[in-house]
């Protein structure tokens, strides 16, 4: 009787230890999987931006975005100041590539997903049923239904087009003033990491805890020097 009680206690102890070990190691593995080797991000320098719309034009061309919808827009506010010394502010409106993306969490079919190798939030158009739950969930209001594919669509840092060919995203290539910097946050020598270290930056709606990866350098007051 005593023996069996001891055996029971030993057995259950071993089982608990086993289970907890299993959970721990599994958790670690899962954690490692989530940590991607490359973590792409973008920086928009609002001081350098001249609002020429070349980025949005090239985006439309390269990603074949139909008229009426857009993956990328430059929002112009102003004019500020008195003539002839007026100026405008330009902000980029596109996917903020959240690390904790609400669109991915709510998608019922798994069409919205985060690529673990690059950290890019993207859409599998063939999986999308067009329920628009992601459109409602996105705190930045950048998602839309593509009238051609009838699937949810948005900026994916040109994952399917430019990046596959080893090029920079279409908007970055088109920018005449080099206001856009694209690169890997995990690479300490990348241009974007250096730029982020050198400049004070801000991100939209940080308080929501979505950890967006679209950084912005706030425009200083004043015009643009050619």
């Amino acid at each position: 009787m005593d023996k069996s009680k001891r055996q029971f206690l030993q057995g259950s102890g071993a089982m608990i230890a086993g289970i907890s070990l299993y959970v721990l190691t599994n958790g670690e593995v899962a954690g490692e999987q989530q940590k991607s080797a490359v973590k792409y991000a973008m920086l928009h320098d609002e001081n350098k931006c001249i609002g020429c719309n070349a980025c949005a034009d090239n985006c439309r061309k390269v990603n074949q975005v139909p008229e009426g919808v857009a993956r990328l827009e430059i929002i112009r506010t102003g004019p500020f100041g008195e003539y002839p010394n007026q100026y405008y502010h330009f902000t980029r409106k596109s996917c903020e590539q959240c690390e904790d993306s609400p669109c991915v969490h709510v998608c019922p079919t798994g069409a919205a997903f985060k690529d673990e190798n690059t950290g890019i939030v993207s859409v599998n158009s063939w999986k999308c049923v067009g329920c628009q739950y992601c459109i409602a969930a996105c705190p930045y209001h950048i998602r839309f239904i593509n009238p051609v594919t009838k699937a949810a669509d948005k900026c994916d840092f040109c994952r399917e087009t430019q990046l596959k060919q080893g090029k920079q995203p279409a908007c970055v290539e088109a920018c005449p003033t080099k206001a856009l910097v694209f690169g890997d946050l995990n690479d300490p020598n990348s241009e974007i990491v250096k730029a982020l270290e050198e400049n004070p930056v801000y991100r939209n709606k940080r308080d929501l805890g979505t950890h967006p990866k679209l950084f912005r350098i706030q425009a200083k007051q004043g015009g643009i020097n050619v």
Partner: protein, 156 residues
């Protein structure tokens, strides 16, 4: 058969109409060389580079060359007071644009195109606009051409 003849008649009628309009258009372009502004004394020398075909030359505006370019004065001797419009930054944009701003109000220019505001007195109107040809190239620009134009100065 009856329906087909009707279609042919309709087609021919539209063609005739279109051709009629087409020739009318070209005829207009030809006669625009005969605008009153081109009868002035300046054209005796400036036939090659001075012919005015643009909207500013239309008869009902009653413009002469001197309306924009100023009185002849001692021209062609130098120095003279003739106003020249070109993209050359040595020819101060602020001075050049004074002439245009006599009629064109900045608010109205900005309503048509926001970039007027930021370039105000830093770039001359002539850097982008051409007034002498029948159509100003700026009026027929697509969005992409427009951003390419920005690139010409702003690309580093």
């Amino acid at each position: 058969m009856f329906r087909n003849t009707w279609r042919t008649v309709l087609g021919v009628a539209t063609l005739v109409c279109l051709l009629g309009f087409g020739t009318a258009g070209t005829a207009n372009a030809e006669t625009s060389t005969a605008l009153k502004i081109n009868d002035g004394p300046c054209l005796k020398c400036h036939k090659r580079n001075g012919t005015m075909l643009g909207v500013h030359g239309q008869d009902k505006m009653h413009f002469t060359c001197s309306t924009c370019h100023g009185e002849q004065g001692v021209h062609p001797r130098k120095p003279n007071d003739i106003r020249v419009f070109n993209p050359d930054p040595e020819n101060a944009p602020q001075e050049q644009n004074k002439t245009c701003l006599r009629c064109h109000r900045p608010e109205k220019l900005a309503a048509g195109e926001w970039t007027h505001n930021v370039h105000a007195n830093k770039v001359s109107c002539a850097a982008c606009h051409q007034l002498h040809p029948a159509t100003d190239p700026m009026t027929q620009m697509t969005g992409t051409q427009h951003s390419q134009l920005c690139r010409q100065c702003h690309a580093k």
